[in-house]
């Protein structure tokens, strides 16, 4: 297992290299550059040239790329052009809202999805099952930003129950922080809970059909024991899969939800960086997000190993 771990960890490096290169090239393909956005439309060519030299952008691209690799090797993600601080600091400042949003979204999707999936599997093919699955399908079909907009309209403006704008940081009160995250987290989590419910249900159904479950029933164990003790334990594994996928999808979803609800998180940071051509931020944040994804996947795979010794990995 140790060699497996080592191999997987090492495999991250070439993947990150690809990500770093692609993000470098991609953002520079976009027309315009940070110098012209900074200086404004009325700047002269000399002003722009001066600015570009100051930003280190006057050197040929391959040279800049190599410098980027070199800095990366030292863990230096560079300096944001517009925020005038290290990229890492810019990310850390915006981490709290995004992390909390993703966390609550995940928690919500699991809290709603897993029980729904289990109940559906337990009462397989009854009205309960069908209505849950119908709801799940509906949930999968609504874009999360549309749900967000509708919630703003109903709960924020018409009813006035929840704050419509932005984000209240944790240090200004846990309750107020939660209130400001309620609608965004629901928009994210509700839609994802549909996916979770479906997957949980399917896995439970598969497991419930296994021979040893049938024999447990034959032995006379109560239905409850069968479901909750044996089947659930085995259904944890696909649920872990789901968590891994869900977190990944939620990071992507956070980008839109932060825009809709005006939350100053990493999602909004990267969108504004792409639109302003803040090269270091785009490159740095993309790399960090990619790293997070990959690490989470690695952790989920490790969790399998721990939970189910039946699973062996080849090579």
């Amino acid at each position: 297992m140790k060699t497996y771990l080592l191999r997987r960890a090492l495999a991250i490096i070439p993947v990150m290299l690809v990500v770093a290169t692609v993000s470098f090239v991609l953002i520079r393909l976009a027309p315009g550059d940070p110098a012209s956005v900074l200086a404004g439309p009325d700047a002269t060519t000399e002003d722009l040239a001066q600015l570009r030299t100051a930003l280190g952008m006057d050197q040929p691209l391959p040279v800049q790329l190599v410098k980027w690799y070199a800095r990366l090797a030292q863990g230096d993600l560079g300096q944001s052009i517009f925020l005038r601080r290290p990229v890492v600091q810019a990310v850390v400042e915006r981490l709290e809202p995004t992390l909390l949003l993703t966390l609550w979204g995940t928690v919500l999707s699991i809290l709603i999805g897993v029980p729904a999936g289990i109940v559906s599997a337990r009462y397989h093919n009854t009205a309960v099952d069908q209505s849950f699955m119908a709801l799940a399908l509906l949930g999968l079909s609504i874009p999360n930003f549309l749900l967000g907009l509708l919630m703003i309209l109903v709960f924020g403006v018409w009813l006035g129950w929840l704050p419509v704008s932005g984000y209240v940081p944790l240090d200004e009160g846990v309750w107020r922080n939660l209130r400001s995250l309620l609608m965004p987290a629901v928009s994210l989590g509700l839609v994802q809970s549909a996916l979770v419910a479906r997957i949980t249900r399917s896995s439970m159904l598969d497991v419930l059909r296994e021979q040893y479950i049938l024999s447990s029933r034959a032995k006379g164990l109560s239905e409850r024991a069968v479901v909750y003790k044996h089947a659930l334990k085995n259904a944890i594994i696909p649920t872990l899969t789901v968590i891994g996928i869900t977190v990944a999808l939620l990071i992507g979803g956070a980008v839109i939800i932060e825009t809709v609800f005006n939350i100053p998180g990493v999602g909004r940071l990267i969108i504004s960086a792409v639109l302003r051509r803040d090269y270091p931020v785009v490159q740095g944040v993309v790399l960090l997000i990619a790293l997070t994804y990959t690490v989470i996947n690695l952790l989920v795979d490790l969790a399998y190993l721990v939970i189910d010794p039946r699973i062996r990995y080849t090579g």
Partner: protein
């Protein structure tokens, strides 16, 4: 998805016995019904898309500022937007655009995915580098990759298709490669190679048909994801040019007038929900038909 490891869920699933008597049959029947419903909705969408010029009551880009932000009436079934354009016509043409984008993205991702997947699975030496690149692309959150691509390429329908296609190529490639790896080892293919058969022919006759069914299933979900993806990109302002009617554009513009003209959000919202719902239902049914083993595990892998 994960880099490298087998998904244990698949192992568990395939270990399950295929039949448990009457229960499965009943379930299959129900599935068929929802699949039929799904197919119907998809058909309606397609019909609307194809028949858009006839169904729309006006040129979706025709402005008439004097009647801007009008509530639904007999002439304007879904009201007008802030330029006085007919919302119904824009939703109808938006359906057309969504179908085009969805189908094209599926086509592009299939082409790219099949190509890379086949090559990676068949030629051992190319497997590692190709898959590393695929992993690299998949490590990007889909939407961020799409936003960056759109910023570079510029707003146009073609570029949206290109961007979303690129996002989904690695996913298709993975599935294809997985299938190829399995098929490759079968005696049939080994014999064909030993006999000196052309690689291409082997790929075409033996390998390809075997990877098709998981790919096709994935296809319905990519279609749905592409429709949602276009909507998200256009909503953020980096998708299709704003004057072109698309569901995302209509929602984006409706959002600015959420309080005064909620119909600008509600109607296109309902349309897009119906469209995606149909695709998901259809995809579920298709999956049941083609590959019961994969039932429920992969789900609708939407990237928001």
């Amino acid at each position: 998805m994960a880099v490298g490891a087998l998904r244990p869920a698949a192992t568990v699933g395939s270990a399950a016995t295929a039949s448990a008597g009457g229960g499965t049959a009943l379930r299959a029947l129900l599935r068929r019904r929802t699949a039929v419903l799904g197919a119907l909705i998809v058909a309606v969408n397609l019909a609307v898309a194809v028949g858009a010029p006839a169904l729309a009551r006006q040129d979706p880009q025709h402005l008439d500022v004097r009647v801007r932000l009008a509530a639904p009436t007999a002439t304007h079934w879904m009201g007008t937007d802030h330029f006085g354009r007919d919302v119904w016509s824009r939703v109808v043409y938006g359906a057309r655009l969504s179908m085009i984008v969805g189908a094209s993205v599926v086509g592009l991702s299939f082409t790219g995915g099949l190509l890379f997947g086949l090559i990676a699975g068949y030629y051992r030496r190319l497997d590692n580098p190709l898959m590393r690149i695929m992993d690299g692309l998949m490590a990007f959150p889909g939407i961020i990759l799409a936003i960056a691509l759109m910023a570079s390429l510029g707003p146009s329908v073609l570029n949206v298709i290109l961007a979303l296609g690129i996002v989904y190529v690695p996913r298709v490639a993975r599935i294809v490669r997985g299938s190829v790896l399995v098929v490759r080892e079968t005696p049939y293919v080994e014999a064909a190679r030993a006999l000196g058969g052309l690689d291409l022919r082997i790929l075409g006759r033996h390998v390809l048909p075997n990877c098709l069914s998981p790919v096709i299933v994935q296809g319905t979900f990519i279609f749905a994801a592409a429709v949602l993806g276009e909507a998200a990109l256009s909503f953020l302002g980096v998708g299709v040019p704003p004057q072109i009617p698309s569901w995302g554009n209509v929602l984006a513009e409706g959002r600015l007038y959420l309080q005064q003209a909620p119909w600008l959000t509600l109607f296109p919202g309902a349309a897009i929900m119906a469209g995606i719902l149909g695709l998901n239902l259809f995809g579920d049914g298709l999956r049941d038909l083609l590959d019961p083993k994969l039932r429920g595990v992969h789900g609708a892998s939407r990237e928001a």
